[in-house]
């Protein structure tokens, strides 16, 4: 089972000692880590390396795809029929809303015209498929199958059929990295659909629900309220559903209420997503932050992945 000891005796030259090599490579790694976290100089190298590795990553997808193909080949007639019926039903249910939408949009545009509010611009969208989730247990990220080839840019919002999934944080030639709304370094400016109260939804990391921080205990918010994007950041188009308020603790002894939320989108389930372009540019922020929330956001903005442009 074992080798005969076959190494040369120590007095033959064998290069630097293992400890010296460990020190050299360890220090190089620490330097790389520092440069990567602080200065993001290495994105170009990463992009090139990712492109070279792309075929390998696709190859790793292959067994799973083959399995699901074989599985779908043997799916029964019954299952397909059921699926079809459910989808038709869904189509009819949604078509009612879809038929009303153009009329409502027109009316909205007319009213906005009367009020002389700037027209909202709904940007173009690209449909993408999830390649795989990140193996990194510290981050909530996933990879989709289109990148610069489909003109996807960093900062664009990613949604599924039900609501916001996350935001594009890195773009490579044939894929893009999406940071999910549940990631610890991700935040979305939202408002409560019912009352219009503005806030920011902060992700809390794997397995922990996202939360609304810095909300006064008296804020007009209830369990079950739907949070939609407010569009104030110029990153997310306004009006997309993000989360539903799950628990609410108003403790008058505390400065802020404890509010946790559950994402409405299939953040960890959806296989097909839509990358929505940036909304029309917002005028630049004035020099002096006018209220506390804006000041807080501007201060945090530097450190957060989702941030203001």
């Amino acid at each position: 089972m074992r080798h005969l000891p076959a190494e040369p005796p120590a007095f033959f030259p064998r290069g630097p000692s293992p400890l010296a090599r460990l020190a050299l490579f360890g220090l190089t790694s620490i330097a790389l880590l520092f440069v990567d976290t602080r200065y993001h100089y290495l994105e170009g190298i990463r992009s090139v390396a990712t492109t070279i590795l792309y075929p390998v990553q696709r190859a790793a997808q292959f067994p799973g795809e083959l399995l699901s193909y074989v599985g779908s080949y043997f799916s029964t007639q019954r299952a397909l029929n059921d699926d079809n019926a459910a989808l038709r039903k869904q189509l009819v249910e949604r078509s009612a809303a879809a038929q009303v939408a153009p009329a409502a949009q027109q009316e909205n545009a007319r009213l906005r015209g009367l009020l002389e509010v700037k027209a909202r611009h709904m940007p173009a969208a690209v449909a993408v498929e999830v390649l795989y989730t990140s193996r990194d247990p510290f981050a909530q990220k996933l990879f989709v199958d289109k990148g610069t080839d489909a003109d996807i840019r960093t900062g664009e919002a990613v949604i599924d059929a039900d609501g916001v999934v996350g935001q594009v944080t890195r773009v490579f030639p044939y894929m893009a990295e999406v940071t999910l709304v549940t990631d610890k370094d991700h935040s979305v400016p939202v408002k409560v659909q019912r009352s219009g109260v503005r806030s920011v939804l902060y992700g809390a990391g794997a397995g922990r629900p996202p939360e609304l921080r810095f909300m006064a205990p008296s804020a007009d918010i209830q369990v079950g309220d739907v949070l939609v994007t407010s569009g104030l950041d110029g990153t997310y188009p306004p009006g997309l559903a993000v989360a539903r308020v799950a628990t609410l603790e108003r403790d008058s002894g505390q400065m802020f209420a404890r509010i946790t939320c559950a994402p409405v989108a299939g953040v960890d389930r959806s296989a097909y997503l839509l990358v929505v372009g940036r909304p029309a540019a917002v005028p630049p922020r004035p020099e002096e932050p006018v209220d506390a929330e804006v000041a807080k956001k501007a201060g945090k903005g530097k450190r957060r992945a989702a941030g203001s442009p």
Binding site: H3, L22, G26, S29, A60, Q61, S134, K184
Partner: protein, 179 residues
Amino acid sequence: MVLPNIGQSAGPAPEEILRPVRPWFIVVTLALAFVANLLPATGVALALKPDFLALVLLYWCIQEPRYVGVAVAWLVGLVMDVGDATLFGQHALAYALLAYAAEYFRRRVLRFPPWQQAAQVACLLGLCAALVLLVRFVGGAPLPRWTYAVPPVVGALLWPAVTRVLQWPQRPQRSSAEL
């Protein structure tokens, strides 16, 4: 397959002279382990999935320190950093330390039968995971769930099988042994 070795652990395991390894075999196994690491997994599979690359790297560091050492481990770690889209240098640092620890402990590890080796491998893989945790924690990441501790254990449980598979081309053929 492996269990009889436990019975023999009272005395020293029978010496078996292995054929010299072919360098391309090392490269191929490392590449396959890399692809295995990239296999998409979700839910329980993701929580259980060991770091195959660290496991194979550890095997070669222990068995063939003249071919695979700190430098190779560091390079392989950089490739893994790109594959995983994690911080540059995170896996590189962890694998370099793993290779150094393997070089330091290899004579001791090799004295034991596979299952007792596995216990020591669990410690080495745990060290590797702990270093990654430290690096990310310093970088501001949240603490992961307790399932973070599972993959090193699963990796150690796979160790006897990995040893068996990777040694297979080097074992003397039965026919030549009978001659």
